[in-house]
Subunit: 251 residues, 2 copies
Amino acid sequence: MASELQGRVRPLEVDRTSPVPLYFQVATRLQELIEKGEIGVGARIENEVDLAERLGVSRPTTRRAIQYLVERGMLIRKRGVGTQVVHPKVRRPVELSSLYDDLVAGDRAPRTEVLRLEVLPAPDTIANALEIAPGTDVTWIERLRYAGGEPLALMHNAIPLDVLPLTRDDLAAHGLYELLRRNGLTPRIATQVIGARSATPAEARTLDEKRGASLLTMTRTAWDAGGRALEYGSHVYRASRYSFELNLSAG
Amino acid sequence: MASELQGRVRPLEVDRTSPVPLYFQVATRLQELIEKGEIGVGARIENEVDLAERLGVSRPTTRRAIQYLVERGMLIRKRGVGTQVVHPKVRRPVELSSLYDDLVAGDRAPRTEVLRLEVLPAPDTIANALEIAPGTDVTWIERLRYAGGEPLALMHNAIPLDVLPLTRDDLAAHGLYELLRRNGLTPRIATQVIGARSATPAEARTLDEKRGASLLTMTRTAWDAGGRALEYGSHVYRASRYSFELNLSAG
DNA sequence: GTCAATACTTTGTCATGACAAACTCCAGGA
DNA sequence: TCCTGGAGTTTGTCATGACAAAGTATTGAC
């Protein structure tokens, strides 16, 4: 009954001429209100039926909008009780983005040095990870990633040749994932293993670390929506400069 | 038209007397067929309209079942094309489980030694992580986790006292998350940071590692569905024995 | 033979209506 | 006082119907 949303009809109107789906418009508006704190943490939002009527949309549409925010961890719903704000910002699921993208987004001035680039038949371990036939041609690249002028990560990747041919110039100027996306290849699913180990002398030298320094390791295989393996990567990061942040949500 | 599902009406029937939602029944049946390989990778499943009719359920119900499997990474949909199997097993999102649960599931015979357990006012850093008022009473615990007879991880945790009082015996016999769940507290959302560093001499001694060995670090804060902080943890793992596995899906 | 327009298929979005299940709260009785 | 029962509220599930948008395949013109 007493809702924080009452009297705020204006910011929740929908535009039926827009190509943006109604449920998404509603979700976005709600998200804005929550992020701005106009609907505080702990507050209950109006019930679905009333909200739908007030917005002039159907209940399924309203439900879908709310569901969207529930999946993002902003709202929770309880049958017989209502829908409540639990967190003012989106808790994103783990992102499938590349290191390069992350650094660009974080203003950390990434630069990439391509140490090696060659086409060779995939050895068994890599063929296995990519779920392709051993001996299939892959592009094997070795890159050194800098951030803010310092070396940050040493990255080894294998990309099946028929997925995307790569050049040194491309790789020096763009992140791998950006190149994939530009060619219509969207990583959709990935499995990662994150571990740690001590740097080998060569790695220490390359990364400007002391002998035996701790490195964060990550191996990943990524597939596109069609189930085709796009990329296998084996990376090491300077633990002193980098860590992985994850947001998880269960249920 | 030509569908791998045709003529397989039997294994896809639904039980309307069951309390299990119809959409979930359909999703489960489909998942079984895919996992068993009866619908192969790459194969298109019957279109929603026909499938719904054949099952005797409505199209929204069918859609919801398919949507469920799409979110789990087994299927992909394309408008105007159809729905296709892309992976024969569920690609789970990152699980919100405890190390203890993982070890039990992996038959690695976990054992826990409680090194410290005391109630104290939360220092600023912990209060900050838990989003509670500084000085609020928390239970501070320090545990050594063994697997297969060997030390594996050194774990520090803070649990607000009003969330759950803990005893040494409880903690020695059960994982922290199991204890939370037993008391009706379900971790729902968490943020984790995974990094690495070298072991301090004390840590090396405790974990039976060499001086300066690489350790995998994880700090985590977990909230329940109501947005209440349940737990803050700062753990170190022997990198030689443990790594994190993640399955991601985007889009 | 090649290319463009058209028809068809399939998923995406939305509305309306109905009932069920879980929870809260209050009133009435032991 | 306690606690039990029922009314009311709110989300969960499901059905039916309709049109839109995107992709594929076919057909027809040049």
